[in-house]
Symmetry: C2
Subunit: 480 residues, 2 copies
Amino acid sequence: MIGQENGLPADFLSDLASAVGAANIRTGAGIAELDPGEDPDNLGASAVISPATTGEVAAIVRLCVRYGVPVVPQGGRTGLVGGGISTAGQLVISTRRLNRIERLDADERVAVVEAGCTLQALQEAALAHRLEPGIDLPARGSATIGGMISTNAGGIMAFRNGVMRHRILGLEAVLPDGSIYSDLTRVVKNSAGYDLKHLLIGAEGTLGIVTRVAIKLDAVPAAHAVALFGFDSVPAALAAIRRALDARVGELRAAEAMWADYFRYAARHFGWSAPDFSMEHRIYLILSLGGADEAALQEELAAIYEELLGTYPETSAVLASSLAQEQAIWRLREESAVIYVDYPNSPSFDVSLPLSQVDDYVRASIAGLAGVSPGLAPFVFGHLGDGNLHIMLNRAEDALTADDIAGVEAVLYGGIRQRGGSFSAEHGVGSKRIHALYATADPVKLGLMQAIKAMVDPGDLMNPGKVIDPSRLPETKHSG
Amino acid sequence: MIGQENGLPADFLSDLASAVGAANIRTGAGIAELDPGEDPDNLGASAVISPATTGEVAAIVRLCVRYGVPVVPQGGRTGLVGGGISTAGQLVISTRRLNRIERLDADERVAVVEAGCTLQALQEAALAHRLEPGIDLPARGSATIGGMISTNAGGIMAFRNGVMRHRILGLEAVLPDGSIYSDLTRVVKNSAGYDLKHLLIGAEGTLGIVTRVAIKLDAVPAAHAVALFGFDSVPAALAAIRRALDARVGELRAAEAMWADYFRYAARHFGWSAPDFSMEHRIYLILSLGGADEAALQEELAAIYEELLGTYPETSAVLASSLAQEQAIWRLREESAVIYVDYPNSPSFDVSLPLSQVDDYVRASIAGLAGVSPGLAPFVFGHLGDGNLHIMLNRAEDALTADDIAGVEAVLYGGIRQRGGSFSAEHGVGSKRIHALYATADPVKLGLMQAIKAMVDPGDLMNPGKVIDPSRLPETKHSG
């Protein structure tokens, strides 16, 4: 296929083939064989290239600069906000072949991996040493470490371990001019000048392509125990989290919430119920403790329940006593895509709130959405330990109109910065949330973002149309 | 004093007085009354100004831009590498009056504090809610949160909680043009565009002045227990850390090491000894466990000792059974300045190594230093949990010559990047380690650092002469 007319210069394609081998370049029908992943528009590019080394990535980027061809980096194609979509005339650089685990030192508790390594591959390699990367999310089988870095992924352990940014000790990337940024330290303490890897983490490929990283690993507890609680108030759920943080045995590893409408929908869908467990609570909470001894952890969860009953006598709880029970509880929370069964046109949102704001935010959102469109209501669930809420809407037959979407965003994003939260917790900005970023972010921050993008990528060749809108002048920068 | 000839334009000083009040500006003898802190050169500036609000800081910076006056921000003046030194013609902006704890929400587990708040003040306020900022260091009584952010401080809990960078959820700063960067989110998950607060964290005031931050708090365990171990090898000490990370009861909160020469010096100085505890080990390790029950934690430490004896039969241990015993153990490690009693001309170094490299690095350093100058030997101690070693030298009467210092740095810094470590773990670069930064850092990183500095602070007015050397051209940027 190489060299034929497909929106890219023939010389460019033959130079690419010289750099990485024609077998590693796909065009036309070769692209059509690939799985586009979460977004059908991911594979609109004229070519998809799969380099196997950092040097090959750098060579490709230098060719893109020479020929003026825009680049879209892709990992597992699991992004939810269009950060990986590509169009004709662009080149997708896939990290599929950059998937090695180069080093995993159990004493160091550090892994060095290439960007295309999946989270699950790293988890499995680490587990052999009773270690874990300290971050976990449902797309683990497809999501790559490079992609998770580029979106600054979060997941269920962020309240204790931080997000992807906090797990990365060292990073190598190809910058937009084709130079290689190399800072592969394997230490958490590094005050050697500006820590510029944090510019690349969360930049969604707009400032360069992450090729390798050193990632911190933590010891995995030998055992764990899981309970599902039902509470009549958000403050009761927050009190439960605090009590679990103070656990006498073990340590809290997950604190996942489901508000009533979501919980009842999922429970009904999966046919879940438990004796003496009320389906009429306001909020449901999964707590998972990790530690050395399963029986002791289960006793601790039972003790937490007993203590909570003293203050919140209406509390329900079910303690998982088998792996099957545990999986059945987790499925209620993790398989949130079941909402699409009845509500195929549900848009989804991903916000982050300080814990003191969560209750009021959800109440205000429920009221506000009903005002946008009669009957419109949210399904709310997420990572209560860190205030990250996922919100889906009960939209069945028809997609919301553009006006309605604007109204919904006004409800969900309006005032979120004043509350100390963020309109995008862990999904990123991509191509679909740029307007929300510009509507909510500090103008001084936006101005500085644009200035950095213009400086690092003056040709706007790195994942153009994502995160940043270079057409907006940073005119507000000096207004502070 | 305001307005007199002191190296600053009289109009500038009167404009400053209009902005913040003459009572908050010191010159001449007024400066001489201040404590210069760790570096006698900290207070060489022509004036010291103490704003009380972010708006006042912004007004001051705008005046500095208008008059072309360089600014040196100062917090507790505890920096160890000359990051706060100032000279005639410069203005020191002290954060002394910016010291409020504005918000401390126990449910959120987040504090919002001004930059001049000391670590200890925050620790005490948080402790009232059984919370802690998750970072601790001996200078806690003087070191300010703003200063700790600017140097990306580390301390004893970094192996589990990360460094200062990992604790900061939101940040407000005055940029070099006087605009206010405002990103005071109180959430750990925030993927709303480039996370530019990480440019300001660790920039040592060269890209702006941090004025307020939101900082993550963690639950404090109700009890703790401390033991001191002696091992005949570094691998044995690392095995002890791993075993403590896998503790059946409690969680590891400190893993502080002292190599033999340092330990014996400190023990002799403080008259410390314990029955059946050998002073002839190669390395000594303090382990501290936190948890709910002191007796259970002490039993766990005893169990760790028993298990280690199975593999490392020569191990010594002493378990603190009183607060006095615990403090006596900690004093050996924390009061490292006792080295200066016998070695007043000891230079000190602060490096970071992957744990797999620590043993070999220390051995190579001992051999290398002896080659620089006969009898020259290191005292080594530090945060073994994260590979941060502090190194002092046995230099008594005479300071090392410049040639010897160059030789010492070649030994201690040479190859450190190849080992995956850093020449500066937690003390920063300041004015004294710029040459080491340029000698060890990736040239692409240096080039990008300089380009960002030139863009954000084109007048080089923010803490000039620190971290960056603008006179060096970033000519290597495109060489990668």
